[in-house]
Structures are given as structure tokens and as C-alpha cells.
């Protein structure tokens, strides 16, 4: 199968790259949280923004888990549409999050990145999971 030679490893690598950057942001979110806040802020405001970012990151990890479950169980591993969509979304997500980290963008931008680069592949993955497990169609 030709998709084994390049689509599957590239999808895996972009998924892992995106995942690694999300884990990295988890541990170094201080600068980004401070970028959301005005120059003078109280501790409660800081904690509020921090909690929001943690929630966003946790939801991202949850969606990652859904997509990895579909990928490693073989349900969507050889589906060319999903591989292409996933590779494109996660690659752009990884690059965007790289800028988010290095340029210290504000927290609200993270929700945009999350929406485009995590939700879309996870939604298609859930759709595939439903068709294979629920409607008993063939995975390919």
C-alpha cells in the first residue's frame, strides 16, 4: 500500500510534534499568561487567566487522546482523507504554537489555534469512529 510509505509516518510525526509542543506549553505558560494581562494585575486576575489556559490545554490533550486512539487502533490509520487532513492541521498547529511560545502571544489567540488545528481533525476522527464502530462500515 502506497500510503504506508509516507502518509502514516508523516501523520504520526506531525501529531507527535503538536503533542510535544502542547506539553511544553503546559510547563512554560507563565510568559503567555502574563502577556494576556494588563501591565498592573492582581493575583486573582493572573489565576483566572492561568486557569483558562490550563483548561484550553487540557481540552487539547483530550482531543489528542481521541485522535491517537483512532490512529493506533487502526481505524483511521490507512484512511487517506483523514491522514492528509490530520497532517495539514497538526503541522500548521505545531508551527502556530511555536510562534505562540516564542513571540509570547496572548491567550485569546490560543483558542483560534485550538479551533482550527485540534478541533477539525478530532471531529473527523470522531465521525470515522462513529461510522466504523457504530454503523459497522469498513475502516478504509
Amino acid at each position: 500500500m502506497s500510503s504506508i510509505s509516507s502518509l502514516v509516518p508523516s501523520r504520526f510525526l506531525t501529531l507527535i510534534a503538536h503533542l510535544v509542543i502542547v506539553i511544553t506549553i503546559f510547563w512554560s505558560r507563565e510568559n503567555n499568561v502574563r502577556a494576556c494581562l494588563p501591565l498592573e494585575y492582581t493575583n486573582e486576575e493572573y489565576n483566572q487567566e492561568d486557569t483558562r489556559l490550563v483548561v484550553a490545554l487540557s481540552v487539547t490533550l483530550g482531543l489528542f487522546f481521541v485522535e491517537l486512539a483512532g490512529f493506533f487502533s487502526g481505524i483511521s490509520m490507512f484512511n487517506n482523507n483523514q491522514s492528509l487532513l490530520s497532517t495539514a492541521c497538526h503541522a500548521s498547529g505545531a508551527v502556530a504554537l511555536l510562534f505562540f511560545l516564542f513571540e509570547q502571544w496572548t491567550c485569546s489567540i490560543y483558542w483560534w489555534i485550538f479551533g482550527f488545528c485540534s478541533v477539525i481533525p478530532a471531529l473527523y476522527e470522531m465521525f470515522l469512529l462513529f461510522t466504523v464502530l457504530g454503523l459497522k462500515k469498513k475502516p478504509l
Binding site: I16, L19, I23, T24
Partner: protein, 191 residues
């Protein structure tokens, strides 16, 4: 490219002691049937092969992240940790290469000594080194390092578990194929 003969023999003996029930048991009728049928089932393990394949693709990413992070935090480390971390990096690189090669050869060609060598290397060498890099806070663990080490640890764990199952199935298969169990307890008969 095979392992040297003494190592193969030792790993084979190790596999047979650890993975198979040692009590002397009479051969059941279904064992005879299995032997006569020239049992041709495939004992390569799919989960193990998947873990190995994706681990192989993940390894360059891990290596580059680790080297860049080490280079960045090098001036801030105490002297003994500088030496330790460079040694650990070189060791892990070499062991990973040998381990992945042995895993591929052992699983795809159904060779028990190679697979046993792979399993031992993963569990006894690579896993402690990875845990050392992940949990020892004194080496100034960076967030990126945490990310890649967590994923490597998950891979090694998956390979240890699926490797154990694959190794047990493979040893039992070779045993039944070569009818070796009837020779258990032959020492006592002679004495």
C-alpha cells in the same frame, strides 16, 4: 547479521527458563496434533511491530531535542552532571540503535534470542535511563525535554509489555514445534 553464537545460546536459555512453565508434564494429545500439523501460525506480534516502527520514526526527533536542550543548559550544570548527561546521551543512542535493530529482526524473523535481547535491553537499560532523565530534577529538566521523554517512556513501556507477550508466545511456539518439553526432567531419570 546475526548475534554471536554464545550470546544467542544464553539468551535462548534465558527465554526458556523465564517464559515457559518448568514442571515436567506429559505431552497432551493436542500437543502431538500440533507437532504433526507442522504448526505454521505466524507468531510475530502486531502491537510490538507498530511500537517499533513508530519508535524508529520518533527517535531522531527525540535525539535532536535532547542534544539541543543539553547544549543550551550546559553552562548552568554542575561539572559531574555535565559528564553524566553526555554519557547517558551516548549510551542511550547506542542502546536505542541496537535495541530497535534486534526488535525488528527478532519480531519479523521470529528469532527468539534477538527478541529476548531486545526485551532485556528495553526493560533493564533503556527504561531506567529514561526514568532518570525524566524524574531527576537536579539536571534542570526543560519543558521540551519533559515532553519528548514522556513520549519515549510510553514507547518503551508499550514495547516491554507487548514484547513480553510476543516473547512468551514465540517461545511456546518453538517449544511445541521442536517437541522440546519431553526432555524436561531427563536429568532426574539418569540419577
Amino acid at each position: 547479521m546475526d548475534l554471536p553464537e554464545p550470546i544467542r545460546r544464553r539468551l535462548g536459555d534465558f527465554s526458556r527458563t523465564v517464559f515457559v512453565d518448568q514442571t515436567f508434564s506429559k505431552l497432551t494429545p493436542e500437543d502431538h496434533v500440533k507437532f504433526l500439523n507442522q504448526n505454521r501460525e505466524v507468531v510475530s506480534s502486531l502491537p510490538l511491530q507498530m511500537s517499533l516502527f513508530f519508535n524508529l520514526w520518533f527517535f531522531p526527533l527525540w535525539w535532536i531535542s535532547e542534544v539541543v536542550m543539553l547544549q543550551l543548559k550546559y553552562p548552568a550544570l554542575p561539572d559531574y552532571y555535565k559528564f553524566i548527561l553526555i554519557t547517558v546521551l551516548i549510551l542511550m543512542t547506542l542502546i536505542e540503535g541496537i535495541r530497535l535493530y534486534l526488535g525488528y529482526a527478532g519480531n519479523l524473523q521470529e528469532k527468539v534470542p534477538e527478541l529476548a535481547g531486545f526485551w532485556l535491553l528495553s526493560l533493564l537499560l533503556q527504561f531506567p535511563l529514561t526514568l532518570f532523565l525524566l524524574f531527576n530534577e537536579a539536571i534542570l529538566i526543560q519543558p521540551l525535554e519533559r515532553g519528548v521523554h514522556i513520549i519515549l517512556a510510553l514507547f518503551i513501556l508499550a514495547e516491554a509489555l507487548s514484547g513480553f507477550v510476543a516473547l512468551r508466545a514465540m517461545v511456546r511456539n518453538t517449544e511445541s514445534r521442536f517437541h522440546l518439553r519431553q526432555f524436561n526432567g531427563i536429568q532426574e531419570l539418569g540419577a
